[in-house]
Amino acid sequence: MKKLLAMLMALVMVLSFAACGETPEEPSDPEAPVEPGETEATGSVYWLNFKPESDEVLKELAAKYTAETGVEVKIETAASGTYNETLTAEMDKSEAPTIFVVGNQAAVDTWGDYCLDLTGTAIEAELNTDAYKLYDADGKLCSIGYCYECYGIIVNNALLNEAGHDVSEITNFETLKAVVEDITARSEELGFGAFTSNAMDSSSSWRYTGHMINLEYYYEYVDDNAAWANGTAAAPTLTGAYMDNFKNLYDLAVVNSIVDRKELANGGFDAQAEFAEGKAVFYVQGSWEAGGLEGKGMDLSTLSMIPYYCGVEGEEKAGLNCGTENYWAINGDASEEDIQATIDFMVWLVTDPEASEAAVGTFGVMPYKSAAVSTNPFLAQANAYLGDGCYNMAWITNFQPNVDAYRATAVNALNAYNADPTDANWATVVTAFIDGWAVQYQAVNG
């Protein structure tokens, strides 16, 4: 018996040695030259991508670039809603991202130290506008927009016409309200309602706490743009002067929705599907939704997007909310070769006809001189509004301090308000958005 045991142990030992010997089996030498002959390819590019929906296209583009130039391009995509966490971990590695996204003032505050000053770089020279540049407190150009988007209220014109209305009727809050309430009143006869669901779970609440609330910030900004350093920094406090206007539009959307407002806190609704299936005429969303709606079989030519009409004087001249959270920053701590390789890659992406076409396909519009022309119908419409002399409602929302906590507080207040829409509960919503701004501003900057 003991002999057997000893033999067994010996066997185990031998096996474990064998197992040990097998593990260091990675033969690939990271120092190996990419291809003989292409000697200049010294730097490499690592892009920590922010948009999960663009992951596939970017990886194809990266492979194409590597095939053409021999420069290694790595694309990693953070899971939806975890960019900040992923970036924190990745920036600590010895091979940190060379391109990352610094998309709003909060991100500039956090990551500004790590950003290369983009002033005078080849990629900055390709920009066709100064509208999408983020600076830190010392005036360093931390990041530049690589695409922009617009949001507002998407309208299904086919259904609207079926209800006996036309989008041209809607020019301000009064007219919007009249149309919406008429549709709601006749919804049983029509077979569809006015607004899709306005769920407040994390997959959808940003449409209100991030986007619709922008109308409040924007009009405050117009009234007093010195408080916002002419649009370069967050105001430390808000006045809340336009919260009633936000309430106008929010209530309109929630009351006239196909889903009862009391059910919104739970979430679990699919507004995109509701809209694509023709259950509702209006959908609070943005230009990035075009691909998704087309994928669900909608004819984009029957859709249009209208501005956030909310009862502000002169809003007949309002346009869509154009802006972006998609800003490129280059890691200033990367080696010079990597920085050079990164800038070369970015320039290629916005100048090469084929590459920029693919990139614009996934990003919408890229504000660069030689980039391909966008085919997104909503962005075309945003430009049409501007062409008619309407004002663009800039994304002041990008200045939200400590954005996740700020929005979570607002969601809580809106949940309580939806459960019991009293004036007292609305007062809490105002507190969450307005006083909450000052609190979070202090938490970040204090």
């Binding site: 003991k2 474990s16 979570a408 459960a419 507190t431 938490a443």
Partner: protein
């Protein structure tokens, strides 16, 4: 029988010498993993709690400032209170139920093995998944009344308790079953002969004999209660908030670990504070665990 000097015996020199000589080879990977995965991050984290930092490789020494801020943070104190209540309630409920189930399943009832397996199974599911599954269950029920678990602090608290009990009772049950099976039959028989009734046997014989199991189970459920994170973030995420008139808010179901996590991501200046909170959190849990271990150990009996 003659004692043989079998050179192949496990304790013979032939076998023991090489084992002694080669032991480091087997120990090194494990020790290295422990150093890399635990000791180094622990001390690095301790160090960072005295620093202002954004990534762990770029830091600036600030001394005790982070600790001052952490202790001055009302939300931290609130979460501590909430967590303490949660830990105590879950400790009691988990152990009472786990012991009861274990006791029932050692009474030679039909299908006991099947029940054991089934009760143990929830423990195999990860906390995040469980949190989302239970939020659907709770909201499916509360949705009928057009409300949600996110709307009321009490629901959030009891929701977390139900979830934690559901997950952990099976695990503690296994430990209790092992303990109960080790209670000597002759002692039970002696108690029976002496005329002890069921309750007397339970409290005077069985429980003193399973004290080691009780020690380990209370230790585990207490520390689990304090460390709870996944279930918290997935089920309630700290909702509902109480929004004060000055714009600050209290996250009514936010436990310590989630509070630390949220602090970390507030902004560039708060990561050190979160780290300091984490160190305080460690000291707290370690102290409690040690205190509880010594207290229950004293009650253990030698068989």
């Amino acid at each position: 029988m003659k004692r043989s000097h079998d050179s192949a015996a496990v304790n013979s020199d032939m076998i023991r010498k090489p084992i002694q000589r080669w032991a480091p080879l087997f120990l090194v990977p494990m020790v290295a993993a422990f150093l890399i995965g635990f000791v180094w991050p622990f001390f690095h984290g301790l160090f960072l709690s005295f620093c202002k930092f954004k990534t762990t490789s770029k830091w600036e020494w600030v001394g005790l400032l982070n600790y001052e801020k952490a202790l001055a943070d009302e939300s931290f104190i609130y979460s501590f209170g909430f967590t303490a209540v949660f830990a105590i309630v879950s400790l009691v409920l988990i152990n009472v139920f786990a012991f009861a189930v274990a006791y029932a399943l050692t009474q030679k009832i039909k299908g006991a093995n099947l029940f054991r397996t089934v009760f143990f199974m929830p423990n195999l599911i990860g906390g995040i998944v469980l949190g989302y599954i239970w939020s659907m269950i709770f909201d499916g029920f509360l949705g009928y009344y057009q409300t949600s678990i996110l709307m009321d602090k009490e629901w959030g608290f009891w929701g977390l308790i139900i979830l934690t009990c559901w997950q952990q009772i099976g695990y503690m049950m296994i430990i209790y079953i092992a303990g109960l099976q080790a209670v000597p039959e002759d002692m039970l028989e002696a108690a029976k002969i002496d005329g002890a009734n069921g309750w007397q046997t339970l409290f005077k014989v069985t429980i003193p004999n399973v004290m080691p199991s009780i020690t380990i189970c209370t230790f585990l459920s207490l520390t689990n209660g304090f460390k709870l994170f996944d279930q918290n973030i997935a089920l309630t995420g700290g909702y509902p908030y109480i929004i004060n008139p000055d714009g600050t808010s209290v996250h009514t179901t936010e436990m310590l670990a989630l509070n630390i996590y949220n602090t970390f991501y507030v902004g560039a200046n708060t990561r050190g504070v979160a780290q300091a909170k984490a160190v305080l959190f460690f000291i707290l849990v370690a102290t409690l665990a040690i205190a509880q271990l010594t207290a229950t150990r004293k009650k253990e009996v030698q068989q």
